[in-house]
Amino acid sequence: MITFEQVTKRYGDQTVAVDGLDLTIASGELTVLVGPSGCGKTTTLRMINRLEPASAGRIAIDDRAIDSLDAMTLRRGIGYVMQHSGLFPHRSVFDNIATVPRLLGWKKPAVQERVHRLIETVGLSPSLATRYPHQLSGGQQQRVGVARALAADPPILLMDEPFAAVDPIVRRRLQDELLDLQARLQKTIVFVTHDIDEAIRLGDRIAIFAVGGRLAQFDTPRNLLAAPADDFVADFLGRDRELKRLALLDVRQAPRMHAPPLVDNDRAVPEAKESTVHDWVVVHDNAGRLLGWRHRGASALQPFTDTVSPTTALDRVLAAALRSPIGVVPVVDDDGCLDGLIGPAELRKALA
């Protein structure tokens, strides 16, 4: 647990980078610090390993003030990943990753074993171990940067816009890998970004900073999106806030269409008994398996191009519903059975 109590950072006499910050970062969670440039998020991060000394207030890790430790000891116990990898250009991938274990005086075999394990952990090919950083792609460099930060197995990992300099496709993959890594390692990660989408994607909790170093809101992504504290936060989350909320929910959290016009194909249903609310019906067999849809009274059955499963994210459900010729999309469970229909009205209820 990392706690900030009334922490202020001033540069010179005038500029206030961080203003009276109170923040508790829970252990084992990925906390994202996000905000526009000049909001103090990076400064906040750098105060944790004392790359920037705080001007006032107290910062503690597990209730132990960080000033009570020698700066080098403190830093060796905290992983640090930066935007442009910051790899040592004169050292091979192996030696870069081995940096902190060697600083800590590990024995050679232990270093070797650890480095080779980490190369695997971050998804690099072992053949890259002898390469120099300039021989790697941007994505590979960032992976080495993460491996180097994890080398001595620190409980805390600080990441300063680590994926900002790689292209969007690689970024997406690195984000997935980080989530995967975090699920296995359960580190306390503090992650700085200016990209709200990245923050929502990665964060267990998000701290939104406003210019002037003020903490505007600190909550889970869902709560932030559902109830932004003020206009600044709402604005920062974006006008497509509802779409972002949908992305965080899945089909299990949405209701199904009330009284859907379903037809069991094995039983002949007189047209008169079909619903008159809709001009279409969805057809399934007597085992409950989806067959398709047809216009009311017509006999030509048409297949659905999209179906969704209980774990599909609701933003995808919305897209599928918009594509669907009947405006709703069928939910098909793992056994292949039809589990109701979802349309925009149900998505709205899910957000309510």
């Binding site: 790359l51 930066m82 990898s85 910051g86 040592f88 004169h90 940096t99």
Partner: protein, 215 residues
């Protein structure tokens, strides 16, 4: 009469060898002392940028003093000794070494120094294990220029009786005899070229990460 009288060369082989040896020694010592002085100056200039201007100015002014004048100025203090020539030679290496060490250290990418700091390097270890290796190509470029310049300058110190191969020029002039002139000429050039190549090779050996990389 041939341009070079090889029998003279053969008869004075030992002497020529000794002069070559002194030439190498003077060059090496001057560079060594130069580095010893320039290094702390450069570190100070990198750490306290305010210090850079005055240091550069001072070494620059020293560099512009005509070499002969400098040696003559030193004679009242140190006489016609090896100290006189060494002091002079060292002074001339300072500007180049100082400037290149500063540039080399300043050229270390900020994020690399920052990463070293964040990973828990002490200041001293960071300098030795991270910043100096990265600055090495620029520093070595300075050492090479300083070495070649010094090798040329050593011949001038022959005028105060400490000149290494320069002695051969004096002998040649005094005796109106071309052989020692030519021998001195060829040997000092050969020495400069081999030292330069040697230092380049040393750099190549010390910086495996630079190989095959466009600079």
């Amino acid at each position: 009469m041939s341009l070079v009288q090889w029998d003279w060369v053969a008869r004075h082989g030992g002497e020529i060898g000794a002069q070559l040896g002194q030439h190498v020694l003077l060059t090496g010592l001057a560079l060594g002392f130069g580095l010893l002085i320039a290094f702390p100056l450069a570190l100070a200039a990198v750490r306290w940028p305010r210090f850079y201007g005055p240091s550069l100015g001072l070494t620059g002014i020293l560099f512009t003093v005509p070499s002969l004048a400098l040696f003559i100025l030193l004679i009242p203090f140190t006489g016609l000794s090896i100290a006189t020539s060494l002091i002079g030679l060292t002074i001339y290496t300072l500007l180049i070494l100082f400037r290149n060490i500063v540039e080399g250290l300043r050229g270390v990418p900020a994020d690399v120094s920052e990463a070293a700091k964040a990973l828990g390097y002490s200041r001293g270890r960071r300098l030795v294990q991270v910043e100096l290796p990265i600055a090495l190509p620029v520093i070595m470029a300075g050492v090479r220029i300083a070495a070649v310049t010094t090798i040329g300058m050593v011949t001038v110190t022959a005028l105060i009786g400490q000149g290494g191969l320069g002695q051969l020029f004096i002998t040649g002039f005094t005796l109106h005899f071309t052989t020692p002139l030519l021998v001195g000429f060829v040997l000092s050039i050969a020495l400069a070229v081999s030292v330069d190549l040697l230092l380049a090779g040393l750099l190549w050996w010390l910086t495996p990460w630079q190989r095959g990389r466009a600079t």
